[in-house]
């Protein structure tokens, strides 16, 4: 069965934050995930770029307020 974009993104979060029980939603923010700070955010961005084979621009990164925003940017870049 094909994974949805959200499921793939959730897997990236689990890998980055080393927590196989982590479940994120579109409303999830950095304040909701233990260890998600400005430094680990860089790792998250790198992981998303690698897994979805996309490149974020500085404008993309500045627009991210929650997981929904991140998902929106991934979708806008045509990744599936």
């Amino acid at each position: 069965m094909k994974m949805t974009l959200m499921e793939k993104l959730n897997d990236v979060f689990r890998m980055v934050f080393d927590d196989e029980t982590l479940v994120v939603s579109e409303a999830t923010t950095a304040n909701d995930v233990d260890g998600w700070d400005s430094l680990t955010h860089i790792n998250l961005v790198m992981a998303v770029e690698a897994m979805f084979r996309i490149q974020f621009s500085a404008k993309d990164l500045g627009s991210l307020r929650n997981v929904g925003d991140l998902l929106g940017v991934i979708e806008s870049k045509g990744s599936a």
């Binding site: 080393d18 304040n31 260890g35 700070d37 790198m46 992981a47 690698a50």
Partner: protein, 542 residues
Amino acid sequence: MNNELIENGQYNIGHICTRQQCLNGRGDKTAMRWVDAKGDRADYSFADLDRESNRFANALTSLGVVGGDIVFTFLPKMPEQFFAFLGALKLQAICGTMFSNFGEDALLDRLGDSGAKGIVTKKSSLKKIAHIRQQLPALEFIIVVDGDSDPVEGIYSFKSLMEEASAEFMVESTAADTPSVLHYTSGSTGKPKGVLHRHGSILSQNMTTREILGLQHDDIFWCTADQGWVTGTSYGIIGPWSLGVTQVHYGGGYDAQEWIDLLSRERITVWYSAPTALRMLMREDQGKFVTADFSSLRHIFSVGEPLNPEVIQWGRRLLQRDIHDTWFQTETGAIMISNRPGVEIRPGSMGIPTPGMEAVVVGDNGDLLPDGEQGSLCLKQGGASMFIAYLNNEAVYKQKFRDGWYQTGDTVKRDGDGYFWFMGRSDDVINIAGHLVSPFEVESALLEIEEIAESGVVGAPDELLFEKVVAFVSLHDTFKPSPELELKIRLHVMNRLSGIATPQEVIFLDGIPKNKSGKIMRRVLKARYLGQDPGDISTMEI
């Protein structure tokens, strides 16, 4: 020194910050305004702090903890952090604090070296502890603030323990030299060292909060530091509450608009933060600051890394206030040098010594150096907040003192007016946004990755963080560099050590330069990175 602070010879930090405030008529006063990440607020009076820390002291007693035992908190900023810290100290247990984003290696180093008896943490961190628990024979219990008890596994619910514990606790008379707080700090070699403080440190923390930060009884103080950091305990707990001052503690992370709103809405009068946070604020739209109400804000202070003059100019321009730099170390426990209010600020300098503190600059042979010459910063031994031991490492502790002077490891120079200027570290320790990271620890974590044959780690200048971690790695013959491997390397270090220790750059080399003894030549790596002359490389093997 404020000897009125000590009543009947009682130096106990937990008692002074809670019960003594109640006895002095401040029981109903707000000690902590807790603002969670969603902006919800809860006020805790000094009587609340006293009661909750009493309960925690009784809870620890019920688990067999006695004076001198070591208990760690491994929590993000949250009210339970403060109750646990103060309660442990009331019992005369030693309270260690750790950053909640530490990975398994960082945890194992600290819990293992200290022989900690217990740890207070969140459910989400249990997995990390479970992975290393077999290597921690002294660890008897885990208290989980948001989970259920499982006594067979030695796991106890914070909520249940507190409900069952009495709200009354008689703090035994505590001498100044009784061990109190434990923070681990990194060196350039070996594992992190446990810096042990004593209850008598409260004299310096109280005095500097009053005399340097200028706190008065009607102030509302916000210290942004995490309690895993010495600033978070000395000035996010001990100093202000020993003076009966209201503190705001915020459970969210860095968010420029939230911080501006918090300063304005909570009518913060004195704000203590760090250069990295201030530099992040500098990148924001200026309009955010122009429209904000900072009318209550009297003073802004900074700590952790050198404060660059541009930040001070930004503060003057947009906040119409000076930003005062302060300098201290985990080992010194309290502010030793500062650009304090009332004294002319020399932008870019560390400032002048705290009243009563003697600081000198010495050369390699131990001779005092004249003003203007660069040397090692040394502080007169004997300050109330100076650490009393590196846990289990007396030899290294003794090496830090020479002829009655504490060797800070910082290289400085002093100008003709007595202002000190930070020039660098005399070792390889990397200062990332005020957090010290040992290159040795990162190198060790890198060698756990199967693809990596050798590693060398250095600090390099960074505009935002002051310094960043740069990792040089050489791979086993069968592996090749790739973006995926770089990501794997970063995530491995982040999850084994911490986000702070994660290499910001990974550089693949054919070999890591070493001398004939096999020691990594970090200075050669650093020179290579910075495009500088590596100096004498006659002993280099690769």
